[in-house]
């Protein structure tokens, strides 16, 4: 019995977390990848080149132009009997889709898996990552979302899988895509960036985030935010790092004007190096930071920007 990874993509390219999910699947067995979309053969071809992928299923149909769970879930559930595990990245795409698939199959879903102990035993964070639960599934098919930062990415090249065209499932016609407003950015994706610089309530306004953007651009990084900064309306929700936002684990995470509530730490504490800049020396963020700087961020950020230009 093989492993089916449901690819996350935008009809042009695979999302980075799909590669981490393929790697997680590789720990369980032979990996097939499902690419469901519209005019998305290029994505299937990219998936076929990923190291460790044995074959690719391509469901290319107009009803999959946008990833609606109502349309996709019957397709994935219909394929399930040939597999022991169904995996997707634990991003908004997978979190929306996989529980619906699991319920159609009458099995549990296991969210945000960070460790695989065996074919039926998985480790996942609970309570905002303040505890780790090891759970065993009694179901025949395991439906799983994978936390990308917990698994190394599979190499995007080196594979040579066959692509098999499969028919679309019947569209239940329950939902319709109306439109979207996507944040346009030249910066890397938050969840796969090597450097992330995040601002909190201490930033005082959305305009001041330009100070972070300037530094992010010098470091080739992405800009994030705490929930407090999102709640205050400084930046959109898709910037949010934390328990209810995105989980990141970059090489360098710089927290600026962020006090360090446990809900925020849940989203970034697995970063390799953490820097905290805060004017409050008692801020809890300093307890987990590798390097702490007590300073007024409106002085420190321009200084940091200038310092990065030096001695290159």
């Amino acid at each position: 019995m093989g492993i089916l990874v449901v690819a996350e993509h935008d009809n042009d390219a695979l999302k980075a977390a799909t590669l981490n999910t393929v790697a997680a699947g590789g720990e369980l067995g032979e990996v097939s990848v499902l690419v469901a979309g519209a005019d998305c053969r290029a994505v299937a071809e990219a998936a076929a080149r990923v190291a460790g992928v044995a074959n690719v299923l391509l469901a290319d149909a107009e009803i999959y132009a946008h990833p609606l769970a109502e349309s996709l879930a019957p397709l994935v559930a219909g394929l399930a009997s040939a597999y022991s595990h169904l995996l997707a990245p634990a991003a908004t795409f997978g979190k929306n889709l996989m529980p619906r698939v699991a319920a159609l199959l009458d099995v549990a879903q296991i969210s945000d898996v960070i460790g695989i102990e065996g074919a039926d035993t998985f480790v996942r964070p609970i309570y905002a990552g303040n505890a780790l639960a090891t759970v065993r599934s009694a179901d025949a098919i395991k439906v799983i979302t994978v936390r990308g930062t917990a698994f190394d990415a599979a190499a995007p090249d080196g594979g040579n899988a066959a692509i098999e065209d499969i028919p679309a499932a019947e569209d239940p016609g329950l939902s319709r895509f109306v439109g979207h407003e996507l944040t346009k950015s030249e910066r890397p994706e938050l969840t796969s960036a090597r450097v992330v610089i995040s601002g909190g309530r201490g930033m005082q306004s959305g305009e001041k985030f330009a100070l972070l953007e300037e530094i992010a651009d010098k470091l080739g990084g992405a800009v994030g935010a705490s929930r407090a900064a999102v709640d205050a309306g400084f930046v959109p929700n898709d910037y949010q790092v934390g328990q209810t936002g995105k989980v990141v684990a970059p090489d360098l995470y710089v927290a600026v004007g962020i006090s360090g509530a446990i809900q925020h730490l849940a989203g970034m504490k697995d970063s390799k190096v953490i820097v905290a800049i805060n004017k409050d020396e008692d801020a809890p963020i300093f307890q987990i930071a590798d390097y702490g700087l007590v300073a007024d961020l409106f002085k420190a950020l321009p200084e940091l920007s200038a310092e990065l230009d030096k001695q290159r």
């Binding site: 769970a69 319920a103 065993r136 939902s175 319709r176 979207h180 929700n237 200084e303």
Partner: protein, 249 residues
Amino acid sequence: MKVLVTVKRVIDFNVKIRVKSDNTGVETANVKMSMNPFDEIAVEEGVRLREAGTVSDLIAVSMGPPACQETIRTALAMGCDRGILVESDVDLQPLAVAKLLKALVERENPDLVILGKQAIDDDSNQTGQMLAALLGWPQGTFAFKLVLADGAAEVTREIDGGLETVSLKMPAVITTDLRLNTPRYASLPNIMKAKKKAIDVLSPDELGVDVTPRLTTLKVEEPSKRQAGVMVGSVAELVDKLRNEAKVI
């Protein structure tokens, strides 16, 4: 229109949880419990629809031990009309909760079920999607904005790259994200009034649902702790450390 909202009793978000020394779970004795924050947003959305005249019957549902009645009372004090508690001592996992909710939907025939997107204890983020699947209803998950018109629910959703708007045929399942609204605090008069509102108590058996857990928790552990590092005195020292010690820039 009739709307069902779900409320889960969880350890208060401000409490620093402790893992039990025998690694069987998290300490819940003598710990402050509250309504799951995302469920407060669900209740608030239902109450706003009621205040707008769109909804005439707003039902708050909780599941678990008898103490969940307190959580339902909070929802009643915020403005729900009545409550239903499905009482059980079993560890109710998302699939079981979705099946119990489906049974309640079949009894009550609501036009909309509004749930929090995630409970802050098990962080599963599954129940709404599972309920929608079992009912064959559409799902508007991670809702940022909800507009009801002409038998459809237009839901703007928080997605990784920004916002997405979908149109769902009613009846539908909605799960709430943070920015949908800001929940109110119940006023003292409303807390008093809520004491007189009815709460029906049912059992999984009465609803004909098998709630046997599918997942067994083998152990619960504390994650490895990060050690605090060093404090630096200046930006120049910070950049020097990042370049030459940590070698990350």
